[in-house]
Point group: C2
């Protein structure tokens, strides 16, 4: 089956979080880093990443900085203050989501007698 479906809506959180943690990264680096860090469990497709990066810049969550390294073009991204706040909030939202999911998927709910 496809685990992929679950990652839907997570990409933005991942990108913001990684950039918040690591200061600045460029697109290709993001794909490689995530692939390595998850042992291939999560791979960011370029078709999803680049449009997202553009959108995040347009929304003021990221800033871009062009560069040229070893003759190759790069675009370094880093989070804005707003982006950093968004990252934190989305990580929190993810934790809440997991919590909710566990409540639903739990084998048996505890008796809701008292508070």
């Amino acid at each position: 089956m496809d685990t992929t479906q679950l990652f839907r809506g997570t990409l933005q959180t991942v990108v913001l979080r990684l950039l918040a943690e690591r200061g600045r990264m460029y697109g290709y680096e993001l794909t490689q880093h995530v692939r390595d860090r998850t042992d291939g469990a999560l791979t960011i497709s370029e078709g999803a990443l680049y449009p997202l990066l553009h959108k995040l810049v347009a929304n003021g969550l990221l800033d871009v900085e062009g560069a040229r390294v070893n003759g190759r073009q790069r675009k370094y991204y880093h989070v804005t203050a707003e982006g950093r706040a968004a990252a934190a909030e989305q990580v929190r939202a993810f934790e809440a989501f997991v919590e909710t999911m566990r409540d639903v998927l739990a084998p048996a709910p505890p008796n809701p007698s008292a508070a």
Copy 2:
């Protein structure tokens, strides 16, 4: 923001798991049960639920059983053997997904020196 986006791709897992746990339920009951169990954090829209139930039946993961209670029509669903296996697998997949997410979202990864 919308926490809703995260639940994408989770609905099938939720439905299968609940039915595997509780034996049999009907559509409306599923929506109410999930709403109550999560204190409103997760609400299953009918526009998402009914097509899914039909699909799961078509795929052999669920069986249907028509009924009439208090003059009102109901359709009880219960998991097949295949559905039960799928439920277990999808819950496992969800746990793996969460695990992967934590690896990515973790503040700092441990040094990957030894096993």
